[in-house]
């Protein structure tokens, strides 16, 4: 039992938290700008590398570097929107999807040119896990990741429900034209969507680095589970995306847990889980679990 919790459930929640942070941005961008942002994974990578640079140059811990990396990634996202997405805003959104596919490549190759392709760690050495009740072992990084995500989820809930900007975001996501008619400045809402999405993506990227290592494919590899999580939660429902991320993260770890000596799926097929969930959703419930919208 403790083995299940220590080696499957907790890593699953950790991974799920990381997916959740990324999926919030994917879901918001899909809801408000109405396109699947293929470069979102690479925004994560960007955040992770900015933090890596700060760790190298300033010698600070990655958690201290995090706010600066988030700000940096937000600026990158706003620039990308300005240069590559906004000029296509009046066209069918599929052109923006193509552009974002290209942006994913641009970001990644830029990182590869600047930092090379080797994997790096923020701080070398083995971290001893904390032990509770004699047998519950949690690495402190897992505690950091899970508790930060929890705090973000609570903050996001209040922001969307009670702040002016949060409500405006939900309104634009519901109906962009009506939002304009009601006098909402959609460009400001869009800018804020990028800032939130990018900050959370940077956070997720740094968490991947803390949990494993920083490498140039870090974010791209997470794109599929993040899409699946956003679909699971219902497009335009950031809180749903958080739940979706957790479900997918936990599912990915649990499928390799041996029940009666047999595991459902070999660990090398872990990343297939997200795809299978996505396909099942698209067939049976494309609007997601939580009453999200199906974009046409």
């Amino acid at each position: 039992m403790m083995e299940f919790i220590n080696f499957y459930l907790i890593p699953g929640i950790t991974l799920g938290s990381i997916y959740a942070l990324g999926a919030v941005g994917v879901s918001m961008i899909f809801g408000i700008l109405r396109f699947a942002h293929f470069a979102h994974g690479d925004l994560m990578t960007t955040g992770a590398y900015i933090a890596l640079m700060l760790v190298w140059v300033l010698g600070v811990s990655p958690l201290v570097a995090m706010p600066i990396a988030m700000a940096g990634t937000a600026i990158v996202a706003l620039l990308l929107d300005r240069l590559f997405y906004r000029p296509l805003r009046e066209l069918p959104t599929i052109y923006t999807v193509i552009a974002s596919f290209g942006v994913a490549l641009i970001l990644r190759s830029l990182i590869q040119v600047l930092w090379g392709t080797e994997a790096h760690v923020y701080s070398p050495g083995f971290q001893k896990p904390l032990i509770f009740f004699d047998s519950l072992r949690i690495a402190s990084r897992h505690i950091q990741i899970i508790s930060t995500t929890l705090a973000i989820a609570v903050a996001l809930h209040f922001f969307l429900k009670h702040s002016r900007l949060g409500r405006s975001m939900r309104a634009v996501s519901d109906d962009p034209e009506l939002a304009r008619i009601a006098g909402i400045r959609t460009e400001r809402v869009i800018a804020f969507t990028w800032i939130t999405g990018a900050c959370l993506a940077a956070m997720a990227g740094i968490f991947v680095g803390l949990d494993t290592d920083v490498h140039t494919n870090l974010g791209w590899n997470m794109l599929l589970p993040m899409f699946a999580a956003a679909l699971l939660g219902g497009i335009g429902k950031p809180m749903g995306a958080i739940a979706g991320g957790l479900i997918i993260g936990i599912a990915e770890e649990l499928v390799s847990y041996p029940v009666l000596g047999v595991s459902l799926l070999s660990p090398s097929y872990k990343s297939a889980v997200a795809f299978i969930i996505m396909l099942v959703l698209l067939i049976f419930r494309p609007q997601g679990l939580f009453k999200g919208r199906l974009l046409q």
Partner: protein, 314 residues
């Protein structure tokens, strides 16, 4: 370089250029006529490449097959299998906004990659499959064989072109191109359109599989590292957008021009000082990524803009 060397450089260029032309025509069927976004071209390409490789290579102890079958059989089966994958994914996704298909196709490419890497009994894992034959190998060898192969590739380009032209002038092809740029209208037309879209997606997938099999024959060896999956997908997209989506001749021209630019950037980055040389591949990717953005914003209709086919009286 001697004139002879230059000529065979050109032959090699035309061979890969031709394979990309097939990919680009196939993508044009899916996107240009069907309005379907496929972000997993590499997946269909890999299905074709491995099918061709396993069926036509000599018997091997390290993986299933090879079956030593004729190349034509390999090509056909490669097309069929790739088409089946396309059918499955299209059935699920055509009724949804194009973005959903984009996400699902990225997924299918990822699953295929996982299978290729993990199922060693089938694909020999990362070691790859060797001894893949080329057509008429026994009759010609050396440089003659290169010439035979380039002709073989371009015969298939012609076949792909003819199929694509038929789709283009079909009644549904006309309707689709009219509404491709308006997904709201597409959603309102309904089931028949979805059937046509599914068909274009399948036919496109078939030819992507064939292109994959062709490159396996050309490389004579295929492994997960033989191609960078994202590069295949991405280059094909750049080629189609630059060439002019919806236009088959544009698709071929786009494939050749972009393949030429891509090959040229290799020469340029080879001039870089050695400390940069290792990163040259990434600089090239960066440049082609920027090039796509440029084309999307300034030359959206492509180098050879789309012209609606003339209505011919029946």
């Amino acid at each position: 370089m001697t004139a002879d060397g230059l000529f065979f450089y050109f032959v090699a260029f035309m061979t890969m250029g031709g394979i990309y032309a097939i990919l680009c025509l196939a993508l044009n069927m899916q996107w240009g006529f069907g309005g379907l976004f496929n972000a997993g071209i590499a997946g269909f390409y890999a299905v074709g490449a491995y099918t061709g490789a396993i069926l036509t290579s000599a018997r091997s102890a390290s993986h299933v097959g090879g079956f030593d079958l004729p190349i034509v059989v390999g090509l056909i089966v490669a097309g069929i299998l790739s088409g089946l994958v396309g059918w499955a994914i299209a059935r699920i996704c055509v009724r949804l906004k194009a973005d959903y298909l984009a996400m699902a196709s990225i997924g299918i490419a990822e699953i295929i990659r996982l299978i290729v890497v993990n199922e060693e009994w089938l694909t020999n894992g990362s070691l790859g499959i060797a001894g893949i034959p080329r057509p008429l190998e026994k009759l010609f060898n050396g440089r003659e064989a290169e010439l035979v192969f380039v002709v073989f590739v371009w015969i298939l380009v012609a076949v792909t072109y003819l199929v694509a032209q038929r789709l283009r002038v079909s009644p549904w092809g006309r309707v689709m191109r009219a509404i491709r740029d308006n997904d709201v209208a597409a959603a309102s037309i309904g089931k028949d359109i979805q059937r046509f879209q599914t068909e274009t997606f399948i036919v496109g997938a078939v030819f992507m599989g064939i292109a994959g099999a062709l490159s396996a024959h050309y490389f004579k060896f295929f492994s997960p590292d033989a191609t960078e999956p994202l590069l295949v997908t991405f280059l094909t997209w750049v080629m189609l957008i630059a060439g002019g989506s919806g236009n088959n001749r544009g698709a071929i021209a786009g494939a050749l021009i972009i393949w030429a630019i891509w090959s040229l950037t290799e020469m340029l980055t080879n001039q870089l000082p050695t400390e940069w040389a290792t990163r040259s591949a990434y600089i090239r990717m960066l440049l082609i990524g920027l090039f796509l953005q440029f084309v999307l914003q300034r030359f959206r209709s492509g180098l050879v803009p789309e012209k609606p086919p003339e209505l011919r009286p029946r």
